[in-house]
């Protein structure tokens, strides 16, 4: 027999009366900490401290300690010179250029690269980018994320940011896809399923795909543009809210309230954290390494075939006129479709001003989701994919062009 909802609740009340005794509730230390981290007056400073701590550890561990202190030395001082000396062909040979080092023109001479960002060979940059730069970044990101998740901090963060996210048609729990997206956009797109309406899921997917740079990209930015990464992140976050606000106004549909369930704090289990970090990190390697290698290969071939120069020339008015960046940016933008980290690494080898660099990095983030994210959105819904593409086209031209305008007003463009 089928009961109605009211009948069920009535029955439950009777059952509960007979079987459950609610004793006097003891306020525990966990509850006290729980209150402090949810009440806005104390919770917001705590949230800022937590996020700041997250960011500092991320930067110092992945960027300074591991990549600069360790991996750069191995790759630039040992691996690259060794490859340059033993790989057959040498500078100027097309196969050598693809696999090891294409070199660059300096004072009219073809000169060998002296670091693993510039060389851009499959066996040099193709290994340095995923293992030397991105792996430490992803590892530390997931370690800290697993800790926050298991302790139970995420729902508190969700409660605190709820009001703000309502302005862009979402609610507190949208913080979950957002933060997951800072690791990798692919699981972030999957996690949009926790949002209730199609409108909310679309807004979330579009925002993740355009304005949330993934961990791989952040890791490499930390190394390539350490002095302007803060600005890039801030500019993207502002874009996230501006675009969200617009989408919320434009897209029909509901954005309902939710009642959030805040679970009690819990002591994190080492075993679970280890497992999660391992799964996510190895998952990253499995997806990223083949794509980075493939990306290097394709981009090098397109360079040699002249396709990239051709694209650069064709779109030169857009690059130089609208965005104010060198037309050589065409190459990284092709690479960005395969891997964003690769694209940023490639940008670092192009000669340009600090401000042009910022614009290019912002463009790489916004202009197109990487192929894995692209496939994931398609899996969720092809309509969402089409919509996202429209959104990011507008975002790339609008937000990228605005940056150019800002530089012009500052007199640095």
């Amino acid at each position: 027999m089928e009961l109605t909802a009211d009948q069920r609740w009535e029955l439950i009340e009777k059952i509960s009366e007979k079987t459950v005794k609610f004793g006097a509730y003891r306020h525990t230390l966990k509850d006290a900490i729980g209150d402090l981290t949810v009440r806005p007056s104390t919770g917001i400073p705590v949230a800022i401290a937590v996020l700041y701590g997250f960011w500092s550890i991320f930067g110092s561990f992945a960027g300074t300690l591991f990549t600069d202190g360790f991996m750069c030395k191995i790759f630039d001082e040992h691996w690259l010179p060794w490859m340059q000396s033993v790989f057959p062909g040498g500078l100027g040979n097309w196969f050598y250029a693809i696999m090891v080092d294409a070199g660059h023109i300096q004072n009219g001479m073809l000169t060998a690269s002296d670091n693993s960002f510039e060389s851009f060979g499959v066996l040099t940059s193709g290994l340095f980018v995923p293992f030397g730069v991105v792996l430490p970044a992803i590892f530390i990101f997931y370690l800290m994320l697993a800790f926050l998740e298991d302790v139970g901090y995420m729902p508190r963060l969700a409660v605190l940011i709820d009001t703000l996210l309502h302005k862009i048609g979402l609610h507190g729990y949208a913080i979950v896809p957002t933060i997951l997206g800072l690791g990798c956009n692919v699981p972030a797109v999957a996690s949009t399923r926790i949002l209730e309406t199609r409108k909310q899921r679309f807004i979330m997917m579009a925002l993740v795909a355009t304005f949330i740079p993934c961990g791989a990209q952040i890791g490499i930015m930390q190394d390539v543009i350490p002095e302007s990464i803060g600005f890039v992140m801030l500019y993207l976050f502002i874009g996230y809210f501006v675009m969200g606000y617009i989408l919320n106004k434009v897209i029909p549909g509901r954005a309902p309230e939710i009642l959030m369930d805040v679970p009690p704090y819990q002591k994190p289990m080492l075993k679970n954290i280890k497992r999660k970090v391992w799964m996510r990190t190895s998952g990253f390697l499995k997806v990223a390494v083949p794509f980075v290698l493939l990306g290097c290969l394709i981009v090098n071939i397109l360079y040699l075939a002249g396709t990239i120069d051709w694209l650069g020339n064709v779109f030169a008015p857009v690059f130089e006129g609208w965005f104010g960046v060198p037309k050589e940016t065409a190459g990284p933008l092709v690479a960005a479709f395969l891997r964003k980290d690769l694209a940023v690494a490639q940008l670092s080898a192009i000669h340009m001003t600090k401000y042009q660099m910022i614009t290019s990095v912002v463009l790489v983030s916004i202009y197109f989701p990487c192929v894995a994210t692209f496939a994931m959105i398609l899996k969720e819904s092809w309509k969402a994919l089409l919509g996202s593409l429209v959104v990011l086209l507008i975002a790339a031209f609008g937000w990228g062009g605005l940056l150019h305008l800002i530089w012009k007003l500052m007199g640095v463009a």
Binding site: M1, Q7, Y25, E149, G152
Partner: protein, 174 residues
């Protein structure tokens, strides 16, 4: 035999799943970690039993896409047995989903999970009495330490669907 792990979001279904199947799926302390179902196998009663970790749902009346997946899983597996994972510290709302599953005619074992949290909150549940009333096995469990999980599994073998009418009758009608 096929077993579905059902329950509210964040009651520990994924912890159960990893324990039962030795698989590795992401578990976290927030609702909505599992948004798609995952299959695994455990060897029990001399057969390979398929275990499916279903996304958390509050009721069989879905309100988001993850819940739709959950309800669809139930509808597509009419011959499955259910382990209904209930947060013992929030037992009343867990019973709602449980009643719905019972009404649908599925054989169920109830895992009263987070038993330790309920104790901390000074909530005392008379599990044997609850078992009497519902007519289905009720086992207190602590997923993260593994307490009670083997008891849940051992009950799976002999469970059969129960009649919701009988529950109503035992409570003196509604």
């Amino acid at each position: 035999m096929r077993v579905l792990l059902m329950g509210h979001p964040n009651v520990g279904k994924s912890v159960f799943f990893n324990r039962l199947t030795g698989a590795n799926i992401i578990e976290s302390n927030y609702p909505g970690t599992t948004v798609d179902y995952t299959k695994g196998y455990m060897r029990q009663f001399g057969e390979d039993i398929e275990v499916i970790d279903v996304p958390g749902t509050f009721s069989l009346d879905p309100k988001d896409k993850a819940e739709e997946v959950a309800v669809k899983m139930l509808r597509d597996n009419k011959d499955a047995k259910i382990i209904c994972v209930v947060d013992a510290s929030k037992i009343e709302r867990g019973l709602y989903l449980l009643l719905e599953i019972i009404e649908e005619g599925f054989p169920v074992v109830v895992a009263l999970n987070m038993w330790d949290t309920a104790m901390d909150k000074n909530i005392q549940i008379d599990a044997p009495e609850l078992e009497q009333i519902l007519g289905v096995p009720v086992v207190p469990t602590v997923g993260i330490s593994g307490e009670g999980i083997s008891a849940v599994v051992s009950k799976l073998k002999d469970i059969t669907p129960v009649d919701a009418d009988a529950i109503v009758e035992r409570m003196g009608g509604i």
